[in-house]
């Protein structure tokens, strides 16, 4: 059991906690694009500190002569935390049955941490030692262009390049916010939605991916990209006073690309 979230210390009823968790989950699931695309391992718990990479590095100075020394290489898990503050009065109104309590700060924090995870996985997070999918890709990026009607060609080209590289499907298309908006508002000649056409090209999901710059076509056959989760997204307690309660959403994870050639970036 994990007690580090200190939820019992918050002046929040169980019923209100249930509503906060439900709200957080709803907001997170909508925006967690990377998890819709990559393999997920875990959750392994808050105590998990690193992901084994199956590699060793030499140690220059062994304890004595006559032995060879090596050290296992690991990727430390990174922690992400998005803090927010809720009004005590609003939380008390939740208990009174209010259906319009202001949970805006929670929604914003959920969106922000989802964006952070999306960026780390899809574009990388150098400071945490995470190489993202587009960073690792061995393919030259393809320009998307400014007009959604022109998206079919680069998406189809990306799929063909993946096939040529021996990367089987199904594939998925992750679209940044602007690119997604353009796609859903575009109908082709005859009224056939562009979104449906793109789905047929990739034979997999189209994912709204806030935080993504441009778009990414990648294989979702499995085994190519791995998100290793320690503590899965959770709501914890930080402090409170007479006016408000300071809470946070937190997770720990690492990410590895096993097959760099299994994705292609489409630049905005």
């Amino acid at each position: 059991m994990s007690g580090h979230l200190l939820r019992a210390h918050a002046p929040i009823s169980d019923a209100a906690w249930a509503m906060l968790d439900s709200e957080a989950q709803e907001r997170l699931v909508a925006a967690l694009a990377a998890r819709k695309l990559v393999d997920f391992s875990g959750p392994h718990g808050w105590e998990q500190s690193a992901t084994g990479l199956g590699r060793v590095a030499p140690i220059a100075a062994p304890p004595c002569e006559g032995v060879v020394a090596r050290q296992r290489v690991v990727l430390p898990l990174a922690e992400l935390r998005a803090g927010f503050e809720l009004s005590l009065a609003e939380l008390q109104d939740l208990d009174r049955g209010a259906v319009d309590a202001d949970l805006g700060p929670l929604d914003a924090a959920a969106h922000q941490i989802a964006i952070a995870e999306n960026i780390a996985v899809l574009h990388g997070w150098e400071a945490a030692g995470i190489t993202g999918i587009t960073e690792a890709s061995t393919h030259d990026p393809l320009p998307l262009g400014d007009v959604a009607e022109g998206y079919r060609r680069p998406v189809a080209t990306a799929v063909e390049r993946l096939l040529s590289s021996g990367i089987s499907g199904p594939y998925a298309l992750a679209l940044g916010r602007e690119q997604y908006r353009r796609v859903v508002e575009t109908g082709e000649h005859g009224g056939y939605p562009l979104l449906d056409h793109l789905k047929k090209i990739v034979e997999g999901p189209i994912v709204w991916a806030p935080g993504v710059d441009g778009a990414v076509v990648l294989s979702v056959r499995g085994g190519d990209f791995l998100l290793d989760c320690g503590q899965d997204l959770s709501v914890g307690y930080e402090s409170h006073d007479g006016e408000g309660v300071r809470l946070y959403i937190e997770e720990s994870f690492s990410f590895r690309v096993a097959t760099p050639e299994a994705a292609i970036a489409l630049t905005a």
Binding site: D21, Q25, D39, F40, G42, P43, V207
Partner: protein, 133 residues
Amino acid sequence: MGFDQYHEPPNELPAATRTFARLCASLTEEAEAIGWYEQRLAVETDSEATAVMRDALGEEYKHFSMDLEFLLRRTPQWREIAQGVLFKAGDIVEHGEEAEAEAGDEGDRARPGGGGDGFSGSLGIGSLKGASL
């Protein structure tokens, strides 16, 4: 195949709960299969047939174990009780009662939404792979 692993309307259930229900259904099916193979092996006299079925039974053991591990990873209270019962010599019922009692105090607060520290904290989102939008 129907969707009768859902007890509540599927469209009202979060994705994580639907996944959990699928794995619960799979666990049940694997346990049933293990029971069926035990019965078949008990009556089969053809040695070649029994060899084939023993091999199949091993597969069911593996599938059952994988399903169980998946479910335990996502259910901290269940996992804690299981840790007090599984792979331990001695009285099974006694271990079960002890494990339940130890998890009980926390368990009362461990349901999702509970504020107590017994709650694992996870929102239970996990993998969303395959989901659109």
